[in-house]
């Protein structure tokens, strides 16, 4: 479900704040209705700059992913995890995040449902399944 939000400053802070409430913060173009993640300033379809703030449920289905056997710096202590691209529920929008506890592809078939659990300064947008 989409919920209207009041105006805040700082698009990334807004995205992070929403993630910590298990939501995905997005912009809906007033001119053409196209939906984009919060951090985009102009509509990618019509270049409009007026948006309606919307909050989407922080949930979706896995589109693709990788299991990072060799973790980059900052993720060495994360255990076995996946970086996941997911389609946000009830929206034509994709996002990506960090999903801990994934060891093999059998743990994460394409189409698996995932949820946003928060935004971690160290690991970014954190997901669970």
């Amino acid at each position: 479900m989409m919920e209207k939000l009041s105006q805040q400053s700082g698009t990334r802070e807004k995205f992070i704040s929403a993630a910590n409430r298990q939501k995905i913060s997005a912009n809906k173009c007033v001119s053409c209705g196209h939906l984009m993640l919060e951090t985009v300033l102009y509509c990618e379809k019509c270049s409009g700059s007026k948006f309606e703030d919307v909050e989407l449920e922080g949930a979706g289905t896995v589109v693709t992913y990788t299991i990072q056997a060799v973790a980059p710096e900052g993720f060495e202590d994360a255990g076995s995890y996946a970086w996941v691209v997911f389609k946000v529920e009830n929206a034509q929008l994709r996002a990506s995040g960090f999903l801990p506890g994934i060891h093999t592809p059998q743990d994460l078939p394409i189409g698996t449902k995932v949820r946003v659990t928060g935004f971690d300064a160290k690991h970014g947008l954190v997901l669970s399944k």
């Binding site: 990334r12 951090t39 589109v63 693709t64 992913y65 990788t66 299991i67 990072q68 056997a69 060799v70 973790a71 980059p72 710096e73 900052g74 993720f75 994360a78 995890y81 970086w83 691209v85 994709r94 996002a95 990506s96 995040g97 960090f98 592809p105 394409i110 690991h123 970014g124 947008l125």
Partner: protein, 388 residues
């Protein structure tokens, strides 16, 4: 565009782990290119330099430093960064300025030095080329990002990890014939499949190495090239394209929009179609990238390239040889230099300098190079000029 643009000279250092400073590496390639063109630095009217991580060797603002060390400190230089696509994007700017008539003769040089930072830190540096807030910051390395594209491709098109391995095997087969290649070693499909997983489904031998190195070309007007009396190659097509910076922003993860757009522009300028290309140097940072590239460039229908590679269509004596140099996978990937290195390979092929890896009877070649996961890309098409 008013002027025809030609490549009069080209040179590369060896790619690999190099001990010299980044400036010394750059100068080595510059000297080779200048000598192969039969010119002196005083003929150069502008310098175009591509580099990404100069800061790792304590040097940014690289163009004036290189020009000064060539003894032409009065010649204006420009340094360009576009991640792994820096070389081709910079080459396009050099091409455009000669084509527009601003200059008759320019140096286009790419250089990189990262291996001294170690694999872990190099991986981190490269991740800064992603849309970091969404990708690197959420734990995706570059192998991880391409692995996500590989999983999407394998799922959509019913290809296999073994199909991907054939790209690596073919490029190493070619790289063995290239004395300047970073990894000159033949490998088998089993070697690839048994190599350690880096980011599933990609394994170590699906990935190109981190490399140091430099490549340089001398671009000039047709009049300048003809007066030289030396062999040259004509640039007949040039295209640029762009894609959403983050993989999540693409409607179809099994194609790279910037490649499609750049290819269409280059084909249109050249008045040619994919069937007219005799060989191609494409951006194979990971095996899946080459599969997607050769579909996006129109050599194979969507979903068919993996099978074509497995059947040998892209080998040195195949219907469309791809990466006769060994590609990024075997020749190496000094990211600021890679796009220029592809042009050096075309020059070498068309001027009799490619030795055993020469593509027989080739007259038209294409280069393709992109930045990050394809957020930026450039495609160029070249024609062999017969000086007989």
């Amino acid at each position: 565009m008013t002027e025809k643009v030609c490549i009069l000279g080209a040179g590369s250092t060896k790619y690999g782990k190099l001990n010299e400073s980044i400036i010394e590496i750059a100068l080595g390639a510059a000297k080779d290119a200048i000598e192969s063109a039969g010119i002196t630095p005083k003929d150069i009217q502008a310098g175009y330099i591509s580099n990404v991580f100069g800061v790792a060797d304590k040097q940014v603002h690289m163009a004036p430093v290189i020009m000064s060390n060539l003894g032409i400190s009065h010649v204006p230089g420009l340094t360009i960064e576009s991640a792994c696509g820096s070389g081709s994007v910079m080459f396009r700017e050099a091409f455009a300025n000669v084509a527009a008539g601003f200059y008759d003769c320019v140096l286009a040089l790419g250089v990189e030095k990262v291996t001294h930072t170690g694999t872990a830190h190099s991986t981190t540096l490269f991740s800064y080329c992603s849309d970091f807030f969404y990708e690197g910051g959420n734990g995706a390395s570059f192998p991880g990002l391409f692995a996500s594209m590989a999983r999407a491709y394998l799922t959509t098109h019913k290809a296999t990890e073994e199909d991907l391995a054939h790209v690596a095997v073919k490029n190493h087969e070619n790289g063995v014939l290239n004395p300047k290649a970073h990894v000159r070693k033949k490998i088998t499909v089993d070697d690839v499949m048994q190599s350690p997983v880096v980011a599933s489904p990609l394994k170590l031998l699906d990935c190109c190495p981190f490399s140091d190195g430099a490549s340089a070309t001398i671009l000039c007007s047709e009049e300048f090239a003809k007066k030289s009396g030396r062999p040259y190659v004509e640039v007949i097509g040039s295209g640029r394209g762009a894609s959403p910076a983050a993989v999540q922003g693409r409607e179809d993860i099994t194609t790279i929009p910037s490649t499609v757009a750049a290819g269409r522009q280059a084909y249109k300028m050249a008045g040619l179609a994919p069937k007219d290309i005799d060989f191609a140097e494409v951006h194979d940072c990971f095996t899946i990238a080459e599969i997607i590239d050769i579909e996006d460039l129109g050599f194979f229908p969507k979903g068919k390239a993996a099978h074509a590679v497995r059947d040998g269509a892209t080998r040195l004596r195949g219907e469309i040889p791809v990466n006769p140099s060994g590609g990024l996978k075997s020749k190496g990937h000094p990211i600021g230099a890679t796009g220029v290195g592809q042009v050096v390979e075309v020059f070498d092929q068309f001027t009799g300098r490619a030795g055993e890896r020469t593509v027989q009877n080739a007259e038209i070649a294409l280069t393709h190079n992109f930045g990050a996961t394809g957020a930026s890309a450039a495609v160029h098409i070249f024609r062999k000029v017969d000086r007989k």
